[in-house]
């Protein structure tokens, strides 16, 4: 039974392995006898192709963990591609820079101010003394909002100076990497605001954003431009090609962003109070509220981060495909949700994580690569993808151990019941809420 439990807990990884095996066995060979699927170039192609969906799915995971949903990511990504492409190709005060410069300034002010306050209050909290009580270190003004606000102001001034200096010429790589995600972050925070302060359902609020971001994107681009083309070297800076190159000739640049996001936010979800709160809220909002968790803050942050990641994905889209267009992300939100669900995160919230999403994204990417290498009709590919979603989720939800047990011990129901009780893989909202409670005690 132990083997079953181990198998059941790691079934997603087995799924990934099986897909890889199928890919390797079925792969065509090149004339020199090399297995094309397993070739390094092909695998990095897959990693690069999934990076944009992967970044968006990372943000989506956090939102879904909270029991919410973000339908706007595709449109926000499309809007970001427009902002990025316009900043790169048009000089002067265009619609993109008029929106981008204030957005970057405002976001850098708040980001630095809150970060500084977080660090200072962390310092002020101090360590436990010998009697086990906390010693408060008197930092005075550092703990209040005054000094952090000052620091934020300095940062905002620096960012404003930097971005404004880029306006007369076209924006460089650093410029777009700074400004575009900031604009997307503001759209994400507007989602959060509508959901938290306006108490709209996430589905409705983000649906509204999905529709309007497409419209804003088209208005920004102007009626004459359904597509903003980016030709690096002629109408945009050649340095922008960095974002589609291979880092040290090993890893494609887009996947560096994707992997970094997975590691960073994976660590945040696993090791920080924010992450624990996210699980607690997703498990049971009421319990979390009664435990004193600031639910609104956590929800707001999640939607904001989802927007931010969609913005970064937008920049990478422009780098890879040399164009910005308002409908660049059409259908992206559904791909991202599919990857999150395949990764075992429950749409009800509170269960799952980023490692699952990472595997889910990879399964999706490898699958379409295999189908493409097999040269299978595009329509058949769509059907196969649907099947994979259904199959993986069936296996995820139906406990694998249970399925096997039912099949093996069909004659004796007691034995089956015994196996079932051994499986701990049920929603853990109650124990998790308790865990968060402990965290809270520790923090206060």
């Amino acid at each position: 039974m132990k083997a079953f439990r181990a198998l059941s807990r790691t079934k997603l990884y087995w799924g990934l392995l099986i897909i890889c095996l199928i890919g390797a066995l079925a792969s065509p060979h090149s004339s020199s006898g090399m297995n094309i699927f397993l070739s390094y170039g092909n695998l990095t192609d897959v990693l690069r192709q999934v990076s944009i969906t992967g970044l968006v799915a990372t943000g989506m995971t956090m939102v879904i963990l909270l029991g919410g949903i973000d339908l706007s990511v595709g449109s926000v990504m499309g809007f970001s591609t427009i902002i990025c492409a316009m900043l790169l190709t048009k000089s002067g005060w265009t619609a993109a820079s008029i929106m981008g410069v204030p957005a970057a300034t405002a976001v850098s002010f708040f980001a630095v101010a809150f970060l500084a306050r977080f660090v200072f209050s962390g310092l002020a909290r101090g360590r436990d003394d010998s009697a086990g009580r906390r010693r408060e270190i008197a930092l005075g003004p550092w703990r209040s909002m005054r000094i952090p606000a000052l620091l934020g102001f300095v940062a905002a001034a620096a960012v404003a100076w930097f971005t404004v200096s880029q306006v007369p010429t076209k924006f460089g790589v650093l410029g777009v990497l700074l400004v575009t995600p900031c604009v997307a972050l503001l759209l994400g925070s507007l989602n959060g605001l509508l959901i938290v302060a306006g108490r709209l359902q996430p589905f409705i609020a983000t649906l509204a954003m999905m529709v309007s971001a497409l419209g804003i994107g088209r208005l920004t681009a102007g009626q004459d431009h359904a597509v903003v083309a980016v030709y690096t070297g002629t109408n945009a800076t050649e340095a922008f090609e960095v974002l589609r190159s291979m880092l040290w000739g090993v890893v494609p640049m887009p996947s560096v962003f994707f992997l970094a996001a997975i590691v960073l936010f994976g660590a945040i979800l696993r090791f920080t109070t924010f992450g624990r709160y996210a699980y607690a809220i997703g498990g049971n909002v009421e319990a979390a509220k009664l435990s004193g968790i600031k639910v609104a803050q956590v929800q707001f942050t999640a939607y904001l981060l989802s927007g931010l990641l969609a913005g970064i994905a937008g920049v990478l889209f422009v780098a890879q495909y040399r164009q910005g267009k308002p409908d660049a992300g059409a259908g992206l939100e559904l791909d991202a949700i599919a990857a999150v669900v395949i990764g075992g995160t429950s749409l009800m919230g509170g269960r799952g994580g980023l490692s699952g999403t990472f595997v889910g994204v990879l399964i999706f990417g490898l699958l379409s690569d295999i189908l493409q290498l097999q040269n299978i009709d595009s329509n058949v590919q769509l059907v196969m993808k649907g099947l994979i979603i259904v199959c993986t989720v069936l296996v995820q939800e139906q406990n694998l151990g249970q399925l096997v047990a039912r099949w093996r011990f069909r004659s004796s129901p007691e034995a089956g019941a015994e196996v079932r009780s051994v499986e701990p893989n049920r929603p853990l909202s109650a124990p998790r809420a308790q865990f968060a409670r402990e965290d809270l005690d520790e923090a206060s």
């Binding site: 092909n42 306006g198 088209r218 009626q223 004459d224 359904a226 083309a229 495909y321 290498l373 329509n379």
Partner: protein
């Protein structure tokens, strides 16, 4: 209380934003116009449609006695039906329509004809015998032109040799099938031509064609000719080959559409070998509408001719459109 204040605030902001945007998109009617021509466009999200609108607007400047009203169906049948109903209520003298699809818009076209408004259908037809005129390109003819040219490039009829990658537009769409069938009417006769992909659809999009081509390049060591059902897809395939360092090995890349700022530009840079013009019926549509208003009788169908665009004539077309 808080919630009400929030709602008030957001309404104010939305209102303010709307007031800023409306003046830029809204133009008051020309008082001097003698005739009112309504044009229902199905979407403006594609570059070809944008060019279509540009063409019809440019032509409208030549006819000061015509007031042109353009609506955008936003790629939704029901929105376009509503647009047409609205134009009928406005009692336009002629209705031009470029329908999103045949079945969904036939009804409203009939309705306009019942209201004594002549209808000229552009690009895609509707299922009605009572329309005044249909103007459109012939995708099958363009596909045949591309196929004939491809055979010529690969060695001439009877001796053409090469591996061909074809990137489909949307698999369920009529233009894609016409462009495919027309192309194969010529290339299928050549035993030396091999097709490497099996119905791979890039859905008319540059990014999807890029990803299809990336894998095709891994899978096939020798590719001679790429045929994209439109220019952005052909260009996406070119970019994939370039990023893989193999753009020099692929001898020919053909596209369709020939928009000045897309296909023609790429051809003039040598990134695509050739593109075939799929002319927008914008200018011709308005000219025919004016003819009708002046009392002339129109022929029932006008088929717009295609044109081969290569490096030789590309710069001339770009100059004509103010791009050089």
């Amino acid at each position: 209380m808080k919630r009400r204040e929030f709602l008030k605030l957001s309404t104010t902001i939305a209102g303010a934003a709307a007031t800023i945007y409306i003046p830029s998109g809204w133009t008051p009617a020309k008082a001097a116009a003698k005739w009112k021509v309504g044009f229902s466009q199905c979407t403006t999200l594609e570059p070809w449609r944008v060019q279509f609108n540009k063409d019809i607007q440019a032509e409208a400047k030549n006819h000061p006695d015509v007031e042109l009203v353009i609506t955008d169906g936003q790629d939704k049948t029901e929105k376009q039906v509503a647009d047409c109903e609205n134009l009928v209520v406005q009692q336009v003298n002629v209705l031009l329509i470029s329908p999103k699809e045949s079945a969904g818009l036939t009804g409203v076209v009939e309705k306009a004809i019942d209201a004594k408004i002549p209808v000229i259908v552009l690009d895609r037809n509707v299922d009605s015998k009572r329309i005044t005129q249909f103007i459109g390109g012939d995708n099958a003819a363009i596909g045949r032109a591309a196929g004939e040219y491809a055979v010529k490039l690969l060695g001439g009829p009877g001796s053409a040799q090469g591996n061909v990658v074809e990137v489909w537009g949307g698999l369920g769409t009529q233009p894609a099938h016409d462009r495919h069938d027309g192309f194969h009417a010529f290339t299928d006769k050549e035993p030396g031509i091999k097709y490497l992909l099996n119905n791979q659809s890039g859905d008319w999009k540059q990014d999807q064609a890029y990803n299809i081509m990336t894998t095709a390049l891994r899978n096939n060591e020798k590719i001679d000719l790429i045929y994209g059902h439109n220019d952005p897809m052909a260009y996406g395939a070119y970019l994939a080959a370039k990023d893989a360092g193999r753009d020099k090995n692929i001898r020919f890349i053909l596209g369709i559409d020939g928009l000045p700022d897309e296909g023609v530009t790429w051809v003039s840079k040598g990134q695509l070998t050739a593109t075939f013009l799929y002319a927008t019926p914008g200018a011709e549509g308005l000219r025919q509408a004016v003819k009708l208003l002046q009392g002339e009788k129109l022929q029932p169908v006008i088929t717009l001719p295609t044109m081969l665009i290569t490096k030789e004539n590309a710069s001339e077309i770009m100059k004509k459109n103010g791009l050089l």
